[in-house]
Symmetry: C2
């Protein structure tokens, strides 16, 4: 285990995938920038690695049960920091296993008795040397994600629009920052589940709007209560708009990526293609970069989505 070490521990370049069959099907000229082969399977590793290399704290705590937990666990392992990830006791076993495999301590809690955020604050009080990491609302997270924007700018591809999934807003803010640093002026469009449309409402009302509770969208990376403040400060000026995507378009996008692009995407990652399916007329005549943010999905859910097709 030595020769491939470098490529395994650092941020990998995004995977550019040409999708002529999908493009013909939609009547939209586009390509995919996929983060599904990023270290730990999603863009979150960009944020996590930047965060852990920028702080002096010997320990990091987070409440993420999804991709950020895995990314942070592995980033901490690489730089030799302790990592604790607080997860609901009801989490999918595979996700818990992945976080542990990446080297973090997992604390399973009964969320009916105490919220994950409360428990994180409690641990933070017990361990004052620990850094409490948000999956999106942190300048270090946004800076880490901005590396994807810089990469896109350097592709030397004449795209005019970027479509990007929105949950807490960390990735979209990072891409805006990265493209802006690189002097690339293209339209940046968010893709958000319609039943979790707090970001869209926020843009309309000019202030952060909160979902009344965690929305039950199939795009589990977008089950956030609201945008983070740091993200909002960037998104409110940097986004050209947000497309609100019905759940059935997310499912269709996962299936189309499987069938016509050989790409395994998680529902949250497929939000961008779902946005193209929802408002194709917005992209006619453009050349679009569609960001697929991650590929980690429960096998049974995935089997249900791709196996149910009518062929």
């Amino acid at each position: 285990m030595n020769s491939s070490t470098d490529s395994n521990v650092l941020v990998r370049p995004t995977t550019v995938i040409a999708v002529p069959r999908l493009a013909r099907r939609l009547g939209i000229d586009f390509f995919i920038a996929s983060e599904t082969f990023q270290t730990t399977g999603s863009f979150k590793f960009r944020a996590a690695l930047n965060l852990v290399t920028c702080i002096d704290h010997p320990e990091v705590i987070t409440a993420s049960s999804g991709n950020f937990g895995q990314a942070l666990a592995y980033a901490c392992k690489i730089v030799g920091k302790a990592c604790t990830v607080v997860m609901p006791a009801t989490s999918v076993k595979m996700k818990v296993q992945a976080v542990r495999e990446y080297g973090a301590e997992v604390e399973l809690i009964d969320v009916r008795l105490q919220s994950r955020e409360e428990r994180v604050r409690e641990i933070a009080r017990e361990r004052p040397s620990a850094y409490v990491a948000s999956a999106y609302d942190d300048p270090l997270v946004i800076e880490g994600n901005s590396t994807l924007g810089i990469e896109l700018a350097n592709l030397d591809s004449p795209f005019s629009q970027v479509v990007v999934p929105i949950g807490g807003g960390g990735l979209a803010a990072g891409i805006i920052q990265g493209l802006s640093k690189s002097g690339t002026r293209v339209g940046i469009v968010g893709a958000e589940p319609l039943i979790a449309n707090d970001a869209s409402q926020s843009l309309r009302l000019g202030r952060i709007v909160r979902n009344p509770k965690e929305p039950e969208t199939i795009a589990d990376g977008a089950r956030t209560i609201s945008l983070g403040q740091h993200n909002w400060d960037i998104l409110r000026h940097g986004l050209a708009g947000i497309i609100e995507v019905p759940e059935e378009k997310i499912i269709e996008a996962v299936r189309l990526l499987f069938e016509l692009a050989n790409l395994k995407a998680e529902p949250t990652g497929a939000l961008s293609l779902a946005a193209l399916l929802t408002k194709p007329e917005m992209f006619r005549g453009e050349y679009v970069c569609c960001v697929v943010s991650g590929g980690n999905v429960d096998p049974d859910l995935y089997a249900k989505i791709v196996g149910s097709n009518p062929h």
Copy 2:
């Protein structure tokens, strides 16, 4: 549909994927060279494009019902040649649809009445200006596939072994040829289904051995009766060996690629990883390039494989 034209119609570079979780799980240091994002979803496009650009015939006929049919259809469309693909009437509807979508004429025949090869010969007699294309037994096919060997040589990665799926032997022969042209000396190991082990038997006996009938392996790209003569001439000297892979290891490999590498592979494409699972001791201390040859798989079969996991 203009700005992405170049990248859509030509051979795309292979996709290099780092797989630290898989490597830890197997205790083997390796990476993947994936042809699943190649034009038409498999390495076959390399062969097809080379073939159609090297011949003067205005029309091409083939009997392939799988990846070569799709690749040839699209390659012919690009260079403006007519293309006829003879397929069994029982073919999966999706594959027929794909070949048609790529622009070829599909002729469905009842294979109980006439074999596909007979029908191809019949059409060839009717249309003397047509070129009859074999999916593997043709120097132009091997030369096309050799571009992958040249790419691997140019990766500047210190791998010591390449593992490659074997059906008719077109890809393995091409990789041997490409690496050899590039002056790269590494071990090249074939991966073949145990129940379709004609290539393995051929190596042992020093002559082409034929399967008594089309073997019913899940790796449908390896359901060939025997190696082609042109392939054999290269493989007999160029291969370090062939690993015979049980069916259950092929299924496990498809599932592991899904779970730990976010890679959608077809069973034939997963043969190389299945070989690592079958004989891991052969690869300890090596740095291995594992070629995943394609990603086109029936959705229901795939759902069955990845959804049946015990998590």
